[in-house]
């Protein structure tokens, strides 16, 4: 079960709200994700996915997680096969339109190894938004009359102002959120370029927040553009320096996704199924001795190629 809004507020009240240094290595930050937690994952599909932290969580052998995300992509295969996640809460889960439905997701959900709770995309957004607002629900006219409402716990009500039927979407208060961004200072003041997704809401809704950032910048730099800050320091518990922290997923403005890697991955999964993902985990998660050993596996030429294509996107 998900936290009640009253309990969720008490947790926040009890936290240290001071501006202290929270910069730490990824291994240290990953300890904030505990067995059985509801872990909310920032970004969407293969954009600003907190891959560095997902690898750490898998490497630590965390078990029994409920993982939620607006739209899941390749990373859910890894979390399922590693045995970290028992339940996924989302609106959509697939490798991506181009690479088709995930065979792994099908295997795990159809086989009953992972339970899948489904919301509409607006619905899962509203769940995080309600959490960020500190209220128990938000109303919408989505999802009415659909079978989604039969299983996901949304409730119908008659509007006390208009008499109209409404769908009430319950708030989501994750235990922990993992979010990858372009920059943050060491205190956890976070700025995002391009699509914001629901990351600001995740940070406000969650009990603990881990931010990985491409770049750790000075607080002076944050202060020069305070209107770009989307998460204030007191919402954040851990800050991790993570260049290429989303790779092989993209980080807008910095590098595009490694589509060729995705193609190869999809081929492997098509051929070998779950065993393919196990090999993949061995090679990319358990194998690399360090953060940079992981990146090294992609070859610097590929990293730079995807940096270049990201620049070309707006320079052409």
């Amino acid at each position: 079960m998900v936290l009640d809004f009253v309990e969720a507020r008490k947790q926040i009240e009890a936290k240290d709200h001071s501006m202290r240094d929270k910069l730490m290595p990824p291994e240290e930050a990953a300890k904030l994700v505990r067995d059985g937690d509801h872990m909310a994952i920032g970004g969407i599909m293969y954009s600003r996915t907190p891959m560095a932290m997902i690898r750490e969580v898998i490497r630590r052998g965390v078990k029994g997680l409920t993982a939620s995300r607006l739209l899941f992509s390749f990373e859910s295969d890894m979390l399922f096969v590693a045995g970290s996640v028992d339940k996924a809460v989302t609106s959509w889960i697939s490798m991506a339109v181009t690479w088709g439905v995930s065979k792994i997701m099908r295997n795990y959900v159809e086989g009953g190894k992972v339970k899948l709770e489904e919301w509409s995309h607006a619905g899962i957004n509203l769940r995080y938004k309600a959490g960020a607002m500190g209220v128990p629900f938000l109303p919408t006219l989505s999802m009415l009359g659909s079978d989604l409402m039969k299983y996901n716990g949304a409730k119908e009500m008659d509007c006390p102002f208009t008499g109209r039927k409404l769908c009430l979407v319950p708030a989501l208060y994750p235990d922990v959120a993992v979010i990858h961004v372009q920059r943050a200072d060491r205190y956890g003041n976070v700025q995002v370029d391009g699509m914001p997704f629901a990351d600001a809401d995740l940070a406000r809704a969650s009990g603990r927040v881990i931010v990985t950032a491409e770049e750790i910048v000075s607080t002076d730099r944050i202060r020069r553009e305070g209107d770009k800050t989307v998460i204030p320091f007191f919402c954040v518990d851990a800050v991790v320096e993570a260049p290429f922290g989303s790779y092989p997923h993209e980080c807008p403005g910095l590098y595009q996704a490694d589509y060729e890697h995705f193609h190869r991955y999809a081929d492997t999964v098509a051929k070998k199924g779950v065993d393919g993902v196990k090999e993949y985990l061995q090679e990319y998660v358990y194998g690399p001795a360090s953060y940079y050993d992981y990146l090294q596996k992609f070859h610097i030429a590929n990293l730079m190629k995807n940096v270049g294509l990201s620049r070309r996107l707006v320079s052409d």
Binding site: T98, G145, L148, M195
Partner: protein, 256 residues
């Protein structure tokens, strides 16, 4: 040999259904190509919007997005906002058109993209709603765009992910879905609309060379048939040329 693929036919026919000066929520793949084609033909002032947050991006000629939720899909957009902001604009009535596909479709335009079999113990787990439920609940006019096959057009769908007219008649409204409607279905065989009274799908236009029998044979339920069946004119050379330029590798819309 018509000189175009069924996917090309569907894309062209869907694009023709889009009026100029409107806004459209567009997904990756065929819908994007279809809306872009409309912009380059009869609807230059159609605004393309991605639910991920981008309003009116300028797609790079060779760096097209694989998904609508990545940086490529936001290139030089007028606004790069959040999905929740875009869904709010949808709720307010700012989005005229939405596109949907579906694994299973019934005669009321209800769509299943969640599961084949039982929800809790599915035989086949599909990707799920994404924004589809929101679009069919809230878009002023939703258009279903799909390949036309009997196993897809069925009497009873396993799970109602995205509402059409629900059980028909007044049931959509009675469920509280007072905004928007499923307005049209474009397949490789025909264009359908929905009878406002009963909410049942109605064959309205047949594509070139298609007979009403072809449609009925490939539909797993009995649709209504318009009194005056129209016939669409085949994709023009210009339409096909533009379409192929928009998707030069045929990644989303395979070429002939």
């Amino acid at each position: 040999m018509p000189g175009y693929t069924t996917a090309e036919l569907v894309t062209v026919m869907a694009s023709r259904e889009l009026e100029d000066r409107k806004t459209a929520f567009v997904g990756a793949g065929l819908p994007l190509i279809s809306a872009a084609l409309a912009q380059k033909t009869h609807a230059p002032d159609l605004t393309i919007i991605f639910e991920g947050g981008a309003v009116a991006p300028l797609i790079h000629p060779t760096l097209a997005p694989y998904s609508t939720n990545e940086a490529r899909a936001t290139r030089f957009a007028l606004m790069v906002s959040s999905p929740s902001d875009l869904f709010n604009l949808l709720h307010r009535g700012y989005i005229d058109y939405g596109f949907l596909g579906g694994a299973q479709i019934d005669k009321y335009g209800n769509i299943n993209t969640s599961v084949i079999g039982d929800f809790e113990h599915p035989k086949v787990r599909l990707p799920g709603s994404g924004g589809a439920n929101d679009i069919s609940s809230l878009c002023t006019k939703t258009m279903i765009v799909t390949h036309h096959e009997k196993r897809r057009f069925i009497e009873k769908i396993d799970f109602l992910t995205s509402p059409g007219y629900l059980a028909g008649g007044d049931s959509r409204r009675a469920a509280g879905l007072i905004f928007g409607k499923v307005d049209r279905l474009v397949s490789h065989l025909c264009v359908m609309d929905f009878d406002e009274e009963s909410g049942v799908m109605r064959v309205k236009k047949l594509h070139p060379g298609v007979t009403i029998e072809d449609v009925l044979e490939n539909t797993g339920f009995a649709p209504l048939v318009a009194e005056k069946l129209e016939t669409t004119s085949p994709p023009t050379e210009r339409e096909l040329k533009i379409l192929r330029e928009l998707d030069p590798e045929g990644m989303y819309v395979p070429h002939a």
